[in-house]
């Protein structure tokens, strides 16, 4: 595709349920990032994938959060036993792994936990 694609655009879930958020990066982009953006706030780094290297998971807020990237392309962010504080916009970005290149963002998934 032409850009980073995220699905679903919006997700409403009940507290305690598990959710999966999907990100399709730009073809050929080896670096992939997940960020969380709470209402009106900045971007909180969650996890970073680069090629076949071990991902940097240092930003994941709890063990309820996990992410995988299959075949170096599509990534799935999973939140287990969702809590109301998990409500936020989850942004995915990808980039070529070359110094100075910017990250290209998807339009995000707005997650609402009720």
């Amino acid at each position: 595709g032409a850009g980073v694609s995220q699905s679903p655009s919006n997700k409403v879930t009940e507290k305690g349920k598990d959710v999966e958020l999907r990100c399709d990066p730009i073809s050929g982009h080896t670096a992939l990032y997940w960020y969380r953006q709470s209402l009106g706030q900045g971007l909180e780094f969650l996890i970073y994938f680069q090629g076949n290297s071990a991902p940097d998971k240092s930003g994941l807020p709890s063990d309820r959060f996990s992410a995988e990237r299959t075949g170096g392309s599509v990534s799935t962010l999973t939140i287990q036993r969702t809590q109301q504080e998990d409500s936020a916009v989850y942004l995915c970005a990808s980039s070529i792994y070359r110094a100075g290149t910017e990250a290209f963002f998807g339009q995000g998934t707005r997650l609402t936990v009720v």
Binding site: G42, Q50, Q107
Partner: protein
């Protein structure tokens, strides 16, 4: 770890006037990249301008320019001739040039309002 600070949660400018958004960062590295991103209500993050730390010349892109002060670790964005379409959240970001750099760091953002 590198941190990025935007000390102005909100800014306002009159249409056609000039506004400057502030950004400071903390790093022990000497070579890196800095970015300004714009996020309109659509949520789509758009790159506005980029600066390479090893270049002394300030980057410019049409009405957008930066004032990069490496020693002060400051990277402000100037928007000239502000337009209604400039209204958005603006984020300053830092990216290491080191091999295996593991993420981009963002500031908390500045919400810019443009008054007609």
């Amino acid at each position: 770890a590198q941190t990025v600070t935007q000390s102005q949660p909100e800014m306002s400018v009159q249409e056609a006037e000039t506004v400057t958004l502030s950004c400071t960062y903390d790093t022990s590295e000497s070579d890196y990249y800095l970015f300004w991103y714009k996020q309109p209500p659509s949520r789509q993050m758009i790159l506005v301008i980029r600066q390479e730390a090893y270049k002394q010349q300030n980057a410019t892109e049409n009405r957008f320019s930066v004032n990069f002060q490496k020693a002060a670790k400051s990277f402000s964005l100037k928007i000239s001739d502000s337009q209604l379409g400039d209204a958005a959240m603006y984020f300053c970001a830092y990216r290491s040039r080191k091999p295996r750099a593991n993420d981009m760091r963002f500031g908390a953002g500045t919400r810019l309002t443009v008054k007609p």
